[in-house]
Structure formats: C-alpha cells, structure tokens
C-alpha cells in the first residue's frame, strides 16, 4: 500500500506559520504608518483593524499548531490538549471577529459616504448662500448710495436756485460801476455751474444701468421653469403655466428672481406627491404684477407657516433654514410682497406681488424687451 512522508506537511507548516507571522506583522506596520499619515481616513482605519485581526489570527494559529506538534511528539498531555482546545476555540473567535470587522466597516463606509455627500452638499449650499449674500449686499449698497446721492442732489438744487435767482436779481439792480457787481456776477455764474452739474448728475443717475434691468417677468418665470422641468418630470408632476398675455416688463434683477423662483418651485416639487400638480400663474392686479405658485402637496400647519421666514428654521433634514429668508429678501429688494397660504393635505400657494412703481405701468403695455431699450423715466415716477 502507498505511504507518503509527513515531511512536506511539516515543511509547509513551519514555512507557512513563519510566513504568516512575518507578513501579518509587516502588514500591521504598513497600516500603522497609513493611520499615522491620515488618522481620520475610514479606509485606513478599517484596514488597520482587519490587519490587527490577521495578526491575532497568525499568532493564535501558529500557537495552536505548535501545541499540536508538541502533542504529536511528546505524547498525550491533558494540559497540552486543553491548551490546544483553548487556542482552537480562540481561532474560532478570531475568525468571527475578522468577519464582523468586515461587515461592520461596510456599514460604517456607507455612513461615511453619506456624511461626505451631505458635507459636499452643505459646502455647495454655503457657497451659493455666500454668493447670494454678497450680491444682495452690493445691491442694497448701490441702491442706498444712489438714493442718497439723488437725495443730496435734490436737496442742493433748491438752495442753488435761490442763490442763483437772488444773485441774478441783485446783479440787475446793481450799478455797472459798483465794485460788488463783479462779485455778484461770479456768484451767479458759479451757482449756474453747480446747477448744471447737479442736473447732469441726476440725469446720469437715472440713466445708469444698475442691478435692475428692463426684464420681462414672464420670461424670467418661463426660463426658471425650463431649468427645473427635468426635476418636475422625474416626479411625474404636471406643471401648468398660465402667463399674463402681455410681457410684464419692469426693472427686475433676472438672476436674483431666478434664484428665488427656483427655490420656491423646488420646494413645491419636494412637497408634491408624484402625479400631483403645480400651477404657475402671472397676472396684473391693480398696482401689482402678481405671480402665484400653487401646488397640491402636503401643505403646512399654521405654526410652520408662521416660522417659514424665520432664519435657520427648517423642517428638512440637512436644510439650512435660509432659503425662504433669501426669497423674501429678494422680493423685498424688488419692493414686492410675498405671502404664503397653506392647508395641510391641500397644498400651498405662494403669492409674490411686484409693485408697479417698480414695474412701470407704461412698460407693462410695452411690446417687450426685444422692442428696444426703454427710455429712462423723465421724472421720479420710476424711482423712489
């Protein structure tokens, strides 16, 4: 009958045990270095734990096989048998620990990835908010400065009229030989120069292209809806538009209004169940251009509606609570009014009214921005 030597088994046993010990400790050295380099890296932490499991496994496995060899060579010793069994049991435990480490880190990795995605989203939102904030600040500052300058110009013009008028009257009443005539003439001349400067300044200030340009509200709403159409379609929501038949041209900030409308429509999409409806409507109502966004979503209870415009108040997980605050600020900058009407289970209607003093009545009837640039208002009708 064939018999095979036990030597190859011993050879591989010694070689295998040594190799496993050496490689597992070398691996641990590598993972420790990786951990030292980047202690917050979840992957390195996982590999470090796994390697630590392998190190314990290599030691336990080697020990149990050494004890087995001792039993084979030195006969049956109850103590050695017990040790062999203990290490056999320990091997079982370490296999379970290795498996648990892998499964546990799988869950941790999913959480880590979600956290990273949330972090990325928050960073993006934060950048957007920062940019929007800067834009709003610049807008407010420009308009304030412009108003102040116009106010000052207006204030200077009246005393100048008085100075100019009286100096001219005095000049007419003064003898040609009077030495003060030259002085009065200089006063009248300088008053006229300042008056001309103020008039030029007012004309420039009124003509100046600011953050608010001649824009069609219907066009802005239409563009925003086109931008968000994929999100609406993805949820199988029916989007109904009902625009005022004529262009609602006025002095609007296209970018800011698009930001505000995007936010409101996204909110409506989020709140509306699939196969629901969102209606966007623009009409002219007395002195206002009125825009309504109506959804058939879950709606909000009165206590939530009350706090919608409170900074940092949010009902969304990961929300900043600043979206609606910015929306209101944008509407405010247009000297408009925003109102919210919501019923739980019925939906929400957001109404934005932009006053005609900002959307010139004359411009409402204009054929649209494509008809050419609008003339600046002659008087303060379009301004404050």
């Amino acid at each position: 009958m064939i018999s095979l030597p036990f030597f190859p088994i011993w050879f591989f046993q010694v070689l295998g045990t040594l190799a496993v010990l050496i490689f597992s400790f070398l691996s641990l050295r590598v993972t420790r270095k990786l951990m030292a380099r980047d202690p917050e890296n979840a992957l390195w932490l996982f590999l470090d734990w796994l390697t630590l499991g392998f190190v314990i496994f290599s030691v336990s496995h080697a020990t149990s096989h050494i004890i087995q060899e001792l039993i084979n060579h030195f006969g049956q010793s109850p103590t050695l048998w017990r040790l062999r069994r203990i290490f056999g049991g320990f091997d079982s435990i370490i296999y379970v620990i290795i498996a648990a480490t892998i499964l546990f880190f799988h869950r941790i990795q999913r959480l880590y990835r979600r956290m990273e995605a949330d972090h990325h989203h928050l960073e993006e939102t934060s950048h957007e908010i920062l940019a929007l904030n800067r834009e709003m600040e610049a807008l407010v500052m420009e308009r304030t400065m412009s108003e102040m300058a116009l106010g000052m110009a207006h204030g200077i013009r009246n005393p100048l009229h008085v100075i100019g008028g009286f100096s001219n009257r005095l000049l007419r009443k003064t003898d040609p030989d009077d030495p003060t005539r030259a002085w009065l003439s200089t006063i009248a001349e300088e008053a006229r120069r300042i008056e001309q400067m103020v008039a030029r300044f007012e004309s420039l200030a009124q003509r100046k292209e600011s953050f608010f340009n001649q824009e069609d509200l219907n066009g802005i709403v239409g563009d925003t809806l086109e931008l968000l159409r994929p999100e609406v379609s993805a949820k199988n929501i029916s989007l109904v538009t009902d625009f005022y038949p004529k262009p609602l041209v006025g002095r609007l900030n296209r970018h800011l209004l698009k930001v505000a409308l995007s936010h409101l429509i996204r909110n409506a999409v989020e709140a509306t169940r699939p196969y629901g409806k969102i209606i966007v409507r623009t009409i002219v109502e007395k002195d206002y251009a009125k825009l309504t966004i109506q959804d058939t979503g879950r709606g909000m209870p009165p206590e939530v509606v009350e706090k919608v415009f409170v900074p940092f108040y949010t009902t969304k997980i990961g929300g900043t609570g600043l979206g609606m605050v910015f929306v209101r600020q944008i509407v405010d900058e247009h000297r408009g009014v925003i109102a919210l009407d919501s019923k739980v289970g019925r939906g929400t209607t957001v109404t934005i009214r932009l006053p005609h003093r900002f959307v010139d009545k004359a411009e409402l009837e204009a054929p649209g921005p494509s008809a050419g640039p609008q003339a600046p208002p002659e008087s303060g009708g379009g301004q404050e």
Binding site: S3, F6, F12, D38, Q76, W81, R82, V96, I98, L103
Partner: protein
C-alpha cells in the same frame, strides 16, 4: 488595571487547564461536539466575509487600483483556504487513528483510501495557501500606501 486584567486572564486559563477532565482522549475537537461546529461555522463565516469583501471591492470598481487588486487576490486565496480548512477538519476529526509508519522526520502516512489522500492534500494546503494569501495582502497594503502618497486626498 493591566495587572488586574492579567490576573483575571491567568485565573481563567488555570481554571480551564486544571479543571476535571473526562473527554480529552482524542482530537482537539471531536467531530460532533459543539466546539467543532462552532469552529467549522467560524471558518465558513470567515470565508463568506472574504467573498463579501471581494464583492464590495468589485462593486466599487477598485480592481483598477493595483493595491486593491492584490488585496482581492489575497482575500480570494483566504476564502479558498477556509473552504480547504472545513474539508480538512471534517476529514481530520472524522477519523483519529490513521495508520502511520516510521518515527520523527521519516514518519509516513499510509494511503488507505481516498479520504486519507484528501486528508494529506488538505493538510499541505492548510499551510501552503496561507503563504501567498498573506503575501498578497501585505503587497496590496504596501502598494496602496505608495499609491495614496501620490494621490490627492
């Protein structure tokens, strides 16, 4: 604290080693005992975890990185080693009194039947498979460490 832990550990060990014995005659686990099932199941769990780890790495398409490639091969061999160990243990614990001739280094195993052949092969595999598995695992980590040095975080 460390001293107390060492005391507890040595106490438990002594209790285990010197407690009255009645079933120490054969094998480190007798096939059919609870310990033998736990050990075999632990091997299968270890094998499953390795396969799951490979599946996860493939799912993330990490094989394009050389380091993860080595890790996958290392884990694959470890999974195979576990299956080999399950078969080996079953054969080893199934029959304790194999016919041996000679002594010491010249000891030989008589190949009585196919089971003994399997036992002999799995016994060699049990150690032979671990060498490439741990080498590839180490190489994988080493390559990952090198690759990560040049990649932005």
């Amino acid at each position: 604290m460390k001293r107390r832990l060492a005391q507890i550990f040595s106490g438990v060990l002594a209790l285990l080693l010197y407690s009255p014995s009645h079933a120490l005659a054969q094998g480190w686990f007798l096939w059919g005992t609870e310990g033998s099932y736990v050990h075999q199941l632990a091997h299968l769990l270890f094998c499953g975890a390795m396969i799951f780890f490979i599946y996860e790495m493939r799912g993330e398409k990490l094989q394009r990185y050389r380091g993860f490639g080595y890790l996958m091969w290392g884990c694959g061999i470890l999974a195979l080693w576990n299956l080999d160990a399950v078969v080996g243990h079953t054969l080893e614990w199934g029959r304790m009194n194999r016919t041996m001739i000679g002594h010491g280094l010249s000891e030989r195993l008589v190949m009585e039947d196919w089971e003994t052949w399997f036992y002999y092969i799995t016994k060699i595999d049990h150690f032979a498979l671990l060498i490439p598995a741990f080498y590839l695992y180490y190489r994988g980590l080493k390559t990952l460490a090198l690759e990560s040095k040049f990649e932005p975080r």
